[in-house]
C-alpha cells in the first residue's frame, strides 16, 4: 500500500469556492464605500426622464395660474430621502405658477415633513418678491387619524374634517379656505406616499369617487403597485423613489438632492450587480466541482 506523498500539492478550495463563502460583511463594506465615496465627487450622469415623470411635471405646468391644489403628505422621516426632494421641487413649481396650496397629512409626521419642504421652498430667492403669506397662499391643516375614512369624509366636508390647522387656527377662518367644501373646489391633488394610507387609497376614495385629477410621488418600494393607475389614467403622473425625484428635478430645471444622490445610487447598484454576477459564477463553478 503506497503512502501519501507529503510533498505533493494539496487540493484546497480555489478562488471561486472561497468567493462563494465570502463573509457578507465584506459585501456590506463595498456597498458602504460605493455609497459614500461618490458623495465626495460631483458625478455627472444623464438622467433620462420617464413618461411618468414627464407627465408629473407637465400636469403641474398645465395648471392655470392661481389654481387651488391639495397636497397630502403621507409619509414620515424614514421615507424622506426619497420623497422630500420631490416635495420641495413640487412646492417650488407650484409657487412659480402662483398656485394656492392646502397641505394635509394622513400620517402623523406628514405635516411636519410638509413644513420642512415648505420652509426650503420659501427660502428660494425667486419667491421673495411674491410675499407668500400663510393662510392666503398656503396653509397646513395638519394630521388627521382615520386613514381612508378621512379621504372619504373630505369628499363631504373638508372644514369639519380638519376643524383647526397645524398652528391651531380655525380652518374656516383662513382666507385660502373660503369657498372650499370638498374635492370639487380643488383644481388638482398631489399625494406623497410611502405605504398605507397612501396613493392607492387616494385613487380609490378620492379620484374614482369625485373625479379629481391627481399625481403622486411614491417611494420606490411602493411604486410598482401604483404604475397600473398611471397607465389607466387614474393618476396623471407618478414619480418613483429617488430616481423619480431626480427625473423631476431634471425636467423642472431645479437640481436638488435627488440629482446629487444619484451618483451614489448608481455606483452602489454597480457594486450590487457586480456581486450578483460574481456570486453566480462562484455558485456554478463550485457546483460543477462538487
Amino acid at each position: 500500500m503506497s503512502q501519501p506523498n507529503p510533498s505533493a500539492p494539496t487540493l484546497g478550495p480555489g478562488f471561486w469556492e472561497k468567493f462563494a463563502l465570502l463573509d457578507r460583511r465584506i459585501i456590506f463594506a463595498f456597498i458602504f464605500l460605493g455609497l459614500a465615496l461618490p458623495l465626495f465627487y460631483t458625478i455627472r450622469q444623464p438622467i433620462p426622464v420617464s413618461p411618468e415623470g414627464r407627465a408629473y411635471y407637465q400636469s403641474i405646468e398645465n395648471l392655470p395660474a392661481g389654481s387651488k391644489v391639495l397636497l397630502s403628505f403621507d409619509y414620515d422621516p424614514p421615507s424622506s430621502p426619497e420623497l422630500q426632494p420631490m416635495a420641495e421641487a413640487t412646492f417650488k413649481q407650484l409657487f412659480t405658477k402662483n398656485c394656492k396650496l392646502v397641505v394635509i397629512g394622513l400620517w402623523p409626521q406628514g405635516p411636519q415633513q410638509a413644513e420642512q419642504a415648505l420652509a426650503t421652498a420659501l427660502r428660494d430667492p425667486r419667491f421673495k418678491d411674491k410675499k407668500l403669506e400663510y393662510g392666503v397662499n398656503y396653509a397646513n391643516l395638519g394630521y388627521m387619524a382615520g386613514n381612508e375614512i378621512v379621504i372619504q369624509k373630505m369628499n363631504a366636508d373638508i372644514i369639519s374634517t380638519f376643524p383647526s390647522d397645524y398652528k391651531g387656527n380655525a380652518t374656516a377662518s383662513l382666507p385660502i379656505m373660503r369657498g372650499v367644501r370638498n374635492y370639487k373646489n380643488f383644481d388638482f391633488i398631489i399625494n406623497f406616499s410611502s405605504g398605507f394610507v397612501g396613493t392607492r387609497e387616494w385613487v380609490q376614495f378620492c379620484v374614482d369617487r369625485s373625479g379629481a385629477k391627481m399625481i403622486a410621488g411614491n417611494t420606490a418600494v411602493q411604486a410598482p403597485e401604483n404604475y397600473p393607475y398611471f397607465r389607466s389614467g387614474q393618476l396623471k403622473g407618478l414619480l418613483a423613489g429617488m430616481k423619480g425625484a431626480a427625473e423631476y428635478e431634471t425636467v423642472a430645471g431645479q437640481p436638488g438632492k435627488g440629482i446629487s444622490f444619484m451618483g451614489s445610487q448608481s455606483v452602489a447598484h454597480l457594486v450590487v450587480i457586480l456581486f450578483v454576477i460574481l456570486g453566480n459564477i462562484a455558485y456554478f463553478v463550485s457546483r460543477r466541482k462538487w
Binding site: 402623523p108 381612508e148 392607492r200 445610487q265 452602489a268
Partner: protein
C-alpha cells in the same frame, strides 16, 4: 451648542444602529430600544393632541387642541353651537377596544373590532371593485394592432412599438391569470400559457425587488450624507 449635542447624539445613534451590520451587539440593542421608545411616545402625544382632542373634546363642547381664537371663531359662526354628542359613541367604542388589556372582560373589545372590520370591509369592497377590478379590466382591453399617427400620417415604427406594448400587456395579463387558474391541470397549451405567465410574474418580482433595493439604498445614502455632511462636516 444644543445643536451640536443633538447632532453628535444622532450621529452616535446612527452608528449604533449600523453596528448591527457587523453583528448583533448591546449597543445596537440600546439604540433600537431608544428608537422604539421615543417613536411610541412621540406618536402617542401627536395623535392625542392632533386627533383625539380636536375630534372629541372640542366637539362635545370641552376645550381641547383648538386655540382660543379658533374656538371663538367656531362659536361665533355657530359651528360649535350644538354639541356633537354622537362623537361620544366613537369614544365609547375606543374605550371598549382598550378592554383587551383586561383578560377577564377582554371579550368586550370584539364589539368595536366587529364594527371597524364591518365598516371598513363595506367601504373597501366598493373601492376595490371600482378601482382595481372594473377600471383596470376596462383599461386592459386594448387593440393588438394600434396604428399611430404622426403629423397626420401613419407611422409604422410607432405603430409597431405601441402594438407590441399592447400585445405584451394583454398577453401578460392573460397568461398571469391562467397561471393562477387551478381548476384545470397545467398541461398542453394551457400549461404552456401558465409557464409564460410564470415568466411575467418573475419579471414583475424582479422589477419590484430592484425598486426595493433602490429604496433601501436611498435610506442609507441619506444616513451617510447626514454622518459625513451634517455631523462630521466632511462634505461641502
Amino acid at each position: 451648542m444644543p445643536g451640536m449635542v443633538s447632532l453628535t447624539l444622532a450621529g452616535f445613534l446612527t452608528l449604533g444602529i449600523m453596528s448591527f451590520v457587523y453583528k448583533d451587539n448591546p449597543i445596537y440593542k440600546f439604540c433600537e430600544s431608544i428608537f422604539i421608545g421615543v417613536s411610541a411616545g412621540y406618536y402617542f402625544v401627536l395623535i392625542f393632541y392632533q386627533s383625539l382632542l380636536p375630534q372629541l373634546t372640542d366637539k362635545i363642547g370641552l376645550t381641547g387642541a383648538l386655540t382660543d381664537s379658533a374656538l371663538a371663531y367656531y362659536r361665533q359662526s355657530g359651528s360649535l353651537a350644538s354639541v356633537q354628542w354622537f362623537n361620544l359613541i366613537a369614544a365609547v367604542l375606543g374605550m371598549m377596544m382598550l378592554m383587551r388589556l383586561l383578560p377577564k372582560i377582554g371579550w368586550i373589545s370584539r364589539w368595536p373590532l366587529a364594527f371597524v372590520i364591518g365598516s371598513i370591509a363595506g367601504l373597501k369592497l366598493i373601492g376595490e371593485l371600482q378601482t382595481n377590478i372594473m377600471t383596470q379590466i376596462q383599461k386592459s382591453i386594448l387593440p393588438l394592432w394600434a396604428p399611430q399617427y404622426v403629423d397626420g400620417s401613419l407611422s409604422l415604427a410607432a405603430s409597431i412599438g405601441q402594438s407590441l406594448t399592447n400585445i405584451v400587456l394583454v398577453g401578460g395579463i392573460l397568461t398571469g391569470v391562467i397561471y393562477f387558474f387551478f381548476s384545470k391541470e397545467h398541461k398542453g397549451v394551457f400549461g404552456g400559457a401558465a409557464r409564460v405567465g410564470i415568466w411575467f410574474l418573475m419579471v414583475t418580482f424582479g422589477a419590484a425587488f430592484g425598486l426595493t433595493v433602490m429604496s433601501r439604498m436611498s435610506l442609507l445614502i441619506a444616513r451617510i450624507d447626514f454622518l459625513l455632511r451634517d455631523w462630521l462636516h466632511l462634505l461641502g
